[in-house]
């Protein structure tokens, strides 16, 4: 690695935002054909650094060198011209346009007068696709493609612009395990052909698997480099957080008791009227964590909305402690003892223009002790809000701040604090409880979920993070195309089997045992 030329170097790069030093004299080197892992918690400055390199922000200090030459990158156009390509965490695609149109956008091949030459573009796309093993149909509409293929379109977009340095921002966040393998193969092909890659992630396992070198950021500073061959997940995690972290969820075996949630024959349609949940059945018991695994968009969101009273059902029943809660208002569902941490917390879990203390009483403002008749009881409200935000380490710890002023991670902690702390919870529904949270917070939240379980709450966990499902659940149900395709105890599940189920491949029933060979079971 010492002989390979350095294609990108960052020296003393500094970026200040009002009140925050987002990047503090960062030094970084990327060699030709290597995969550099960039690891760090939320707010460690990874995204800021990449946006500086991609020309979306301007640095306050420091310089960027490309192929040894100091450059100033004014905007993404500049970055593209200098061979830097970026695949954003949230794909920057136009769903109603075709693959070709998306790829050529901004860099169109034209014949006089600005008329598009789609044929030439398509030809180049197919060449690139063959060269790098990125199979894609150039005429397909992007909205019809699965996420993994959309990502290929994003990578092709960068290659089409002759990118030699590729920044992948959390590329695995939305993929199934099989798609992740596919992505890793693509990365191997790319690096073999001399493309250098910066791989941003907070998933330690993946960083160890694919990266040649790892640089760890904490609080805007580089805390060190690591060699994946000599590192473990634990060592990287403690570098990232600055203390040792327990990665495995430490929990006693579940003691399931009576049935709390029982869903039968549920049919749901999404906003466009397409049926997304079909003849769905599920039962969750007090004192257990049932994890629903599945690729996003297989009906999980609608299922949760139906249980919490936010979506009308087509047919079917939802029973909570034996009482029918199908089609009742969200308030009744809440009063019946359902707590809900929605998937999109910023949108559905809080009112960002309200103060933190008011966000803490969103479901109970009308009841004693928070209300006295038509007046609200500020003393109790403030005291409760103080207690909850402190218990969940919401920072900055001022309940008179508006919710919108908190960082994303702290907003999530605040919503979780409220839902987890409300009294008499029978059923806790948590969707993506740790999405976007850093290792330290994840550890804490997992502990709280287990605590609630042990207190006798039924927990319905929905997550697209397979590791989270595997480590936290007592039972796992895999959802595919609106149905539970299979349910199993967590200790009988592994990444591969669940991954296949998530892709809709149902385990064949075991073949009849050949005569004479008997097994126990």
């Amino acid at each position: 690695m010492a002989d390979t030329p350095v294609v990108l170097e960052v020296r003393g790069l500094t970026k200040r935002f009002p009140g925050v030093l987002a990047n503090d004299h960062i030094d970084l080197k990327l060699c030709k054909g290597e995969v550099l892992g960039l690891l760090g918690e939320n707010g460690a400055g990874k995204s800021t650094l990449m946006n500086l390199i991609y020309g979306l922000y301007k640095p306050d200090e420091g310089e960027i060198l490309i192929n040894g030459e100091s450059v100033v990158i004014h905007d993404p156009n500049d970055a593209i011209r200098r061979g830097i390509g970026m695949v954003h965490q949230h794909f920057q695609l136009v769903p109603v346009l075709t693959v070709t149109e998306n790829i050529m956008l901004g860099n169109e091949t034209v014949r006089g007068l600005g008329f598009l030459n789609q044929r030439a573009a398509k030809k180049r796309i197919l060449e690139l696709a063959n060269q790098y093993g990125l199979t894609v149909n150039p005429d397909a509409l992007v909205q019809d493609l699965p996420v993994g293929v959309q990502q290929r379109v994003e990578i092709l977009k960068a290659l089409y612009r002759k990118a030699e340095i590729l920044i992948l921002d959390e590329p695995t966040a939305v993929l199934t395990p099989q798609e992740i393998e596919g992505l890793f193969n693509i990365i191997d092909t790319l690096t073999a052909r001399g493309v250098s890659i910066i791989f941003i992630s907070h998933k330690l396992k993946e960083v160890l698997r694919i990266c040649d070198r790892v640089t760890v950021l904490r609080l805007g500073k580089v805390v060190g480099d690591a060699d994946p061959k000599q590192s473990t997940q634990e060592s990287l995690a403690s570098m990232m957080v600055g203390r040792s972290v327990l990665l495995r969820v430490d929990k006693p075996p579940a003691q399931p008791r009576e049935s709390v949630l029982k869903v039968e024959g549920l049919n749901l349609t999404d906003d466009r009227g397409v049926q997304v949940v079909k003849d769905f059945a599920l039962e969750v018991f007090a004192g257990e964590i049932l994890g629903i695994a599945g690729v996003q968009g297989n009906g999980q969101t609608e299922l949760i909305e139906a249980i919490t009273g936010l979506r009308a059902t087509e047919s079917g029943t939802i029973l909570l402690d034996g009482k029918n809660i199908t089609g009742v208002t969200p308030r009744l569902v809440t009063q019946a003892g359902v707590a809900h941490v929605p998937e999109d917390r910023q949108k559905n879990g809080m009112v960002s223009s309200f103060l933190i203390k008011d966000n803490m009483r969103l479901q109970s403002y009308y009841r004693a002790p928070y209300a006295m008749g038509i007046l609200s009881n500020d003393a109790v409200i403030n005291e409760t809000a103080e207690k909850w935000t402190q218990a969940y380490d919401v920072r900055p710890a001022n309940i008179f701040n508006s919710m919108g002023a908190l960082s994303g991670g702290n907003q999530q902690k605040a919503v979780i604090a409220r839902e987890f702390s409300r009294d008499q919870i029978r059923l806790l529904i948590v969707a993506q409880p740790t999405r976007g949270l850093d290792v330290g917070s994840i550890e804490f939240i997992h502990k709280q979920i287990v605590r609630l379980r042990d207190e006798g709450t039924a927990v319905l966990l929905v997550s697209t993070e397979l590791d989270e499902i595997l480590s936290l659940s007592d039972r796992i149900a895999v959802m595919y195309a609106g149905r539970v395709i299979d349910t199993m105890p967590a200790d009988q599940a592994n990444r591969e089997s669940i991954g296949l189920l998530m892709a809709g491949v149902k385990r064949e029933d075991p073949a009849p045992e050949p005569l004479g060979v008997s097994t126990h079971g």
Binding site: V96, E101, L105, G106, E108, V110, G114, L116, T326
Partner: protein, 439 residues
């Protein structure tokens, strides 16, 4: 708590009880309506007329006259209505069947106006060429207005100010002609008038762009502001310039824009006089429709515009200047709206009245939505409205025994039926109405 839940349960099971048997669908509702109208026609209307009476539709010798036995025609239409209604009520869910249902209902809708015409003109003859020709003429401001909307909204800026931009164009275009007429030949003055009308639409659009793109004002508010501003400004200018002039408004008369005939094409029967002979703004409509379609779908600018209207951030990361793209598209839209405004004061009439655009800017918006934000679809929508106006005039001539107010409602009722029933859910460009802010 428990009682409440239980009560809800019985309620919901009662609700789902009948919902399980009957599903209310769009095709179902319109099917029932069609069934009802068909039965009305067969049982109540047709028997009241003498079956030997004949309705004649004339085309000024362009093609042979069409002659119908009116009662036979009514019965035929009645049967088509009843069968179409029954067909739409077939309770089987199937994609192909569904589209067939909608097509049949669409035919029924299209048959409605000719049927009323045949009934009202019973025993006499009526000039259809005139209706056809005026339908296309009346569609002109609606189609061009709809194109103005498409340019704006495809780039992500909602434009409800088409009305105001048209009105401004109409007013200043006429004032230009009014002031220049003494000094120039009337055709030169008219040309400058159309030019100024177009540019003034662009100026109003620039204001809309400035408010809604640069200052990220709510685009509906900005549009409303422009509509109100245009109303006040034009009536002020009319008072101060037109009415204050010696001899008043009628003091100068240059006549309307000249009628042009496109060589060869205008000699074709029927479509020659209705489509290829006409005044310049009307003829330009066809060029603008085709031009908009080609630019939007086959050029670099069009691709970028569609991308900016759907996902401005994606476009931005690829180095496309979102703000510039939106500005230019909004201004192009404004130029078109101003041009359409000239139709009112220079082509259809040679005068300017307060509020003379009469809400056609909003109808243009409806035509755009009807066409799902595509130029060709919007043209069909615009023609639909133009023709329903033309038929209104025809009915007035025939002295249909329906209050005139009801007849004047026709285009608006068509708007509502079309928006509610036939186009289904129209999907706007995704970023339409969302101001873009660079992070």
């Amino acid at each position: 708590m428990a009682t409440l839940t239980d009560q809800r349960k019985t309620e919901s099971s009662w609700l789902t009880g009948w919902r399980e048997h009957i599903r209310i669908t769009r095709a179902g509702v319109f099917g029932l309506l069609s069934l009802f109208l068909g039965a009305l026609l067969l049982l109540r209307v047709a028997p009241t007329y003498d079956p030997t009476l004949i309705t004649t539709l004339t085309f000024e010798g362009q093609i042979p006259d069409l002659r119908f036995f009116a009662v036979g025609f009514m019965n035929a239409v009645g049967v088509i209505y009843v069968l179409g209604g029954l067909f739409a009520l077939i309770p089987i869910e199937h994609r192909l069947l569904h589209s067939l249902k909608l097509i049949w209902l669409g035919i029924n809708l299209a048959l409605f106006v000719p049927t009323v015409l045949v009934i009202t003109a019973i025993g006499t003859s009526t000039n259809m060429l005139e209706t056809l020709t005026s339908g296309f003429r009346l569609a002109t401001p609606i189609v061009i207005g709809a194109l103005a909307g498409i340019w704006c909204e495809r780039s992500g800026v909602v434009n409800i100010a088409i009305e105001g931009m048209m009105l401004t164009g109409a007013c200043l275009g006429f004032i230009t002609v009014f002031l220049l007429a003494p000094y120039l030949q009337s055709q030169q003055a008219q040309f400058l008038g159309v030019l100024i009308a177009t540019l003034m639409g662009g100026v109003m659009a620039l204001l809309h762009a400035w408010l809604s793109i640069t200052f990220r004002t709510d685009q509906i508010v900005s549009g409303t502001v422009i509509n109100i501003l245009a109303l006040g400004l034009t009536s002020f200018l009319r008072d101060e310039i037109l009415l204050a002039a010696p001899g008043g408004e009628g003091g100068v008369s240059t006549g309307t824009l000249p009628i042009l005939a496109i060589p060869i094409l205008s000699d074709l029967p029927l479509i020659g006089p209705s489509l290829f002979t006409g005044q310049p703004i009307f003829l330009m409509m066809f060029v603008l429709v085709i031009g908009t379609h080609v630019i939007l779908y086959y050029t670099r600018w069009g691709l970028r515009t569609r991308a900016v209207g759907e996902n401005p951030k994606a476009a931005d990361t690829l180095g496309i200047n979102v703000i510039r793209n939106r500005y230019i598209n909004v201004i192009i839209g404004g130029l078109l709206a101003g041009f359409a405004g000239a139709w009112f004061s220079l082509e259809a009439t040679s005068s300017f009245d307060n509020g003379m655009t009469g809400g056609l800017g909003f109808i243009a918006l409806a035509a755009m939505i009807f066409g799902k934000w595509t130029p060709l679809g919007a043209t069909i929508g615009g023609l639909l409205f133009g023709f329903s106006q033309a038929f209104r005039t025809r009915f007035q001539i025939l002295e249909v025994p329906i209050p005139e107010e009801f007849i004047q409602m026709i285009p608006y009722i068509v708007t509502m039926i079309v928006l509610a029933g036939l186009v289904g859910k129209a999907t706007a460009p995704k970023a339409d109405g969302v101001p873009y802010k660079k992070e």
